[in-house]
């Protein structure tokens, strides 16, 4: 089953991954502002994220960096490796939403295969635009210190 989208207004299926339930709730509340998007699942660490990507096949994974058991960077690499091993392009994209307001961490996230990077302190400002961009396979990065996002 493929969820590739050719029109930006088509449904985006999202998996939320963060070890703090209250943050997941906040992200979910924000994303509910878009009626055409659907949060298909939640995970609280990297291992669970990898499993849920397999079972739920979301379009976008909103992923925290630092989590117990497996961090987001490792999870991102593993998710992409598994997609590669299947020798098919599912169109899945990873968007990091993290506390790390750091160019180095952002570089590492993009190297791990992420398409987007948003700092948690600005998530309310940047999240919807970031999901919109990465779901269309466009890069979106925004550190808190930068007044405007680049996409």
């Amino acid at each position: 089953m493929s969820h590739q989208r050719t029109e930006h207004f088509m449904a985006v299926r999202i998996l939320l991954v963060d070890d703090h339930p209250i943050v997941r709730q906040g992200l979910r509340t924000l994303l509910q502002g878009r009626g055409d998007w659907q949060v298909v699942g939640e995970a609280s660490d990297g291992i669970e994220a990898v499993e849920k990507v397999e079972s739920l096949q979301p379009d976008v994974v909103v992923l925290d960096v630092t989590m117990p058991r497996m961090n987001g960077l490792e999870a991102c690499r593993l998710i992409h490796q598994k997609q590669k091993n299947k020798n098919k392009d599912s169109g899945l994209e990873v968007l990091f939403v993290t506390q790390h307001d750091s160019p180095q961490m952002m570089r590492e996230a993009l190297d791990a295969g992420a398409r987007g990077y948003v700092v948690k302190s600005n998530a309310a400002r940047d999240l919807l635009e970031a999901v919109e961009s990465v779901s269309q396979h466009k890069v979106f990065t925004a550190l808190a210190r930068s007044p405007q996002a680049s996409s």
Partner: protein, 233 residues
């Protein structure tokens, strides 16, 4: 009549999550949201909420000092402190500041509603870790040792702590004066008193003191690759 709650956290995403959690309860409303401790104090004085929920790690004025200011203004305020850590020191600081509830952020989805209910019923709410510490304090010493009672620790006034945080965040005396509606000379006097009381000799020393005493919090990326996340934001 609705139970009115004021939320203070510097991350909107967390406030959204907390709002969603609290407003599921019939009869509860979030009457205001603040993004730092100073705003929380101002809003609490104005809105007079039944319960104030404050994050500890906020810019400009941290949650513990915001709690101190609120309790100084009106001891009837009911404050729940949200924290990323339940270390002994933070627990003591929170109790000392006058908080009646203490909830770990990681457990907020599970514990916060219970904490608000407890305060609503004129009870206190603490995590099991706090209960253990309080009990140990009573068993060992007959009472809980708070920061102010601990020997040889210099005590800063509420105003001095407030200024310590702002200076440690990198603000100049002039900027601090402007934020607190004081003269630059008054801030300089406070600054000298702080340095003398704490036996500090430079702003660098002040920053180290502020970090060690949870007045400001810093992020340490190098630790975060392998360790479980220690902060929500």
């Amino acid at each position: 009549m609705k139970l009115r709650i004021l939320l203070a956290d510097d991350h909107e995403i967390v406030r959204r999550g907390l709002c969603a959690l609290l407003q599921k309860r019939e009869g509860w409303e979030v009457c205001g949201e603040a993004s730092d401790g100073r705003e929380a104090v101002e809003m609490a004085k104005k809105l007079k909420p039944d319960v104030v929920i404050v994050d500890i790690g906020m810019p400009s004025l941290n949650g513990l000092d915001a709690t101190r200011q609120l309790m100084q203004h009106d001891p009837q305020f009911k404050v729940i402190v949200l924290t990323i850590t339940d270390s002994d020191q933070v627990i003591r600081e929170a109790l000392d500041a006058g908080a009646r509830g203490f909830v770990l952020k990681s457990d907020a989805a599970r514990d916060l509603v219970s904490a608000v209910e407890a305060l609503q019923s004129k009870r206190m709410f603490f995590t099991p870790r706090v209960n253990d510490l309080v009990l140990a304090g009573f068993l060992d010493k007959g009472h809980v040792v708070t920061r102010n009672e601990a020997p040889n620790l210099p005590t800063l006034t509420v105003r001095e702590r407030e200024i310590t945080q702002l200076l440690a965040e990198g603000k100049s005396s002039k900027e601090v004066a402007s934020m607190l509606n004081l003269s630059t000379k008054t801030v300089e006097t406070h600054r000298s008193n702080i340095m003398r009381k704490l036996s500090l000799h430079s702003i660098r020393d002040l920053v180290v003191y502020a970090i060690k005493n949870n007045i400001i919090q810093i992020q340490m990326p190098a630790q975060l690759h392998s360790a479980p996340e220690t902060t929500v934001a």
